[in-house]
């Protein structure tokens, strides 16, 4: 039973974490919202100390009406959805396979998880040069082996290339979580259905998949949040060229490359709203789980 004393002590112990996170969240957020209503071009002499010109919703309008906005939204969605479909589908298959009895299971697990630990800049560069290089890349060798013309991956098939790289990075995450969920499946229930002579596909459809539904939802939500903001994978491969400019990358270019802070901040506010829509669903699930 918690006493009054321990309660106030508890509040005190929580304070540093809460205050820091509150500051970390609010201060930059308020600044971003503030800038988004201002004309702020540091390279053209706009200074914070001189006061900035209030422009209302002009930045918001300009950000949306610029020619690169809708393509960037489309690219973002294509990448996110494709990576989700690929990693969840392959993740389920792989988790089912790894759940089977075999020799050296631990070793295979290690191999499968490894890409998750590779830093994004390394995986992007390794794929870009050693695999997707049209002359010396492994994929070019493979294509020529079958008599096909090597593909200029990052220019001709730029978005699929990014999807391939990001999927490779996130497949381990999906597999690992789905495998954990499969392993918690009640063995007796499965065995009983097996005795009833239920065919494998049916068993998967009626017992395994429903059991996995929560884990799948969580994989989808967490990956969405991270993949919405992929950066290094684009930064070191195409630099946003060839139609690979995601919303995140577009904002980055507005803010740091062209130093149009007002415009970029308006974009930032859009990105924050987008991420929050996804986050709300994730919070619901995690929150429900906290109750039991």
């Amino acid at each position: 039973m918690a006493t009054q004393h321990s309660r106030s002590a508890a509040r005190l112990m929580m304070a540093p974490a809460v205050v820091l996170l509150l500051g970390w969240m609010l201060v930059p957020l308020i600044m971003t919202v503030f800038f988004s209503f201002k004309k702020y071009l540091p390279l053209r002499g706009d200074k914070l100390s001189d006061g900035l010109e209030w422009v209302g919703f002009l930045n918001y309008e300009r950000f949306i009406s610029s020619g690169s906005f809708w393509p960037s939204v489309q690219t973002t969605l294509v990448i996110v959805v494709s990576v989700l479909v690929i990693t969840v589908t392959l993740g389920i298959l792989l988790a089912l396979l790894l759940d089977q009895p075999m020799w050296g299971q631990g070793f295979v697990r290690i191999l499968v998880i490894a890409p998750f630990f590779v830093m994004p800049t390394v995986s992007a560069l390794v794929w870009k040069n050693m695999f997707m290089d049209p002359i010396n890349g492994i994929l070019a060798h493979l294509w020529m082996l079958f008599g096909a013309e090597p593909v200029l991956w990052l220019s001709q098939a730029s978005v699929p290339s990014i999807i391939l790289i990001v999927s490779w990075q996130w497949l381990p995450f999906a597999t690992l979580i789905l495998l954990t969920a499969i392993q918690s499946l009640d063995g007796e229930q499965l065995e009983a259905s097996e005795m009833d002579g239920a065919p494998k596909l049916k068993r998967f459809w009626h017992i395994v998949l429903p059991h996995l539904s929560r884990a799948i939802t969580i994989v989808i939500l967490i990956q969405t949040i991270f993949i919405l903001s992929i950066f290094a994978e684009i930064f070191v491969t195409t630099g946003g060229a060839f139609g690979t400019k995601t919303l995140t990358y577009l904002i980055f270019q507005r803010v740091l490359d062209s130093q149009n802070v007002g415009l970029g901040s308006a974009g930032g506010v859009y990105a924050i709203i987008l991420a929050n829509i996804v986050a709300i669903f994730l919070m619901r699930i995690v929150g429900k789980n906290l109750d039991n």
Binding site: V18, V27, L125
Partner: protein, 276 residues
């Protein structure tokens, strides 16, 4: 009735799983192999797998070219520093939420998690500006603080789920014996919590090591860690496959090894306890 799995089926599973495992691992394996080739062998047509003259010259070249030790040191300081700082702040918070829960505990936990979902790019310029004002742009201390704040929600969450599993009875018994709050934490809780804290530390070092938005955007020459070091190979040096591979291998090796040790705890840390 337990069914005996036939050896034949087991062999088929094994074959499949190993083939797929190796396929997924192949880019890493290929990078490691290439790092020991000469530049000519690295781009040989057809590709050479094992039978080349193994050499360490690429490693020597990378070390010479780029002051690798400095980047490595920056990575270590930033990853370890932000994790330790985060744990120091998170342990009391997680402790109080796990053992003295109030009506608002759940909301606070969820709110903390929600700060993690803020897209970094949305607040890039404010952070950039604040860093310039404070004079900590391109400094290790600045990155330690930012990465600590980014990972703090995960650290609190992981610790919370571990602390939750510690039986409350033990704490009550200690309290009956007249243990103060401090005693409780130092002598009762800490020993039981150490395994959980250790896995939290491990996972967060990995996450901080691989973080590639703030480390790329807030550093230049002085505080750049390995993520930025590799990004500097973007072009045209990246076309020197063997050197690129050596640099990459050096950047990922320490974390790959740590990751393999921490894989059992990964799920908990990455799903906020929602998948067990």
């Amino acid at each position: 009735m337990a069914r005996a799995v036939t050896n034949q089926r087991k062999a088929t599973n094994t074959l499949f799983a190993w083939a797929i495992g190796l396929l997924i691992f192949f880019p890493i394996l290929w990078t490691i192999l290439t790092s020991f080739k000469t530049e000519a062998q690295a781009i040989n047509d057809p590709p050479i797998f094992f039978f080349f003259d193994w050499t360490l010259e690429n490693y020597a070249a990378v070390m010479e070219r780029s002051d690798y030790a400095k980047f490595l040191w920056n990575s270590i300081i930033i990853a370890v520093g932000s994790t330790i700082l985060g744990v120091i702040i998170a342990v009391p918070a997680a402790w109080s939420m796990a053992f003295v829960p109030s009506k608002r505990t759940k909301d606070i936990l969820l709110w903390m998690l929600s700060t993690k979902m803020l897209p970094a790019v949305g607040v890039l310029y404010p952070i950039y500006l604040i860093f310039i004002q404070l004079g900590i742009l391109d400094s290790r201390i600045g990155l330690v603080v930012v990465l600590m704040l980014i990972n703090l929600p995960i650290i609190v969450w992981m610790l919370y789920t571990y602390f939750k599993e510690i039986p409350v009875d033990i704490l009550e018994a200690a309290r009956m014996d007249g243990a103060s709050l401090r005693d409780e934490i130092v002598h009762v809780l800490t020993p039981m919590a150490i395994p959980g804290i250790a896995s939290t530390v491990l996972l967060n070092i990995i996450l901080a090591w691989n973080e590639a938005f703030w480390t790329l955007n807030l550093t230049a020459a002085k505080a750049a860690p390995l993520t930025a070091f590799i990004a500097s190979y973007s072009s045209p040096e990246g076309l020197f496959f063997a050197k690129l591979s050596a640099a990459s291998t050096m950047a990922i090796a320490p974390i790959l090894i740590m990751g393999w040790f921490s894989q059992k705890q990964l799920v908990r840390g990455l799903t906020f306890g929602a998948v067990k």
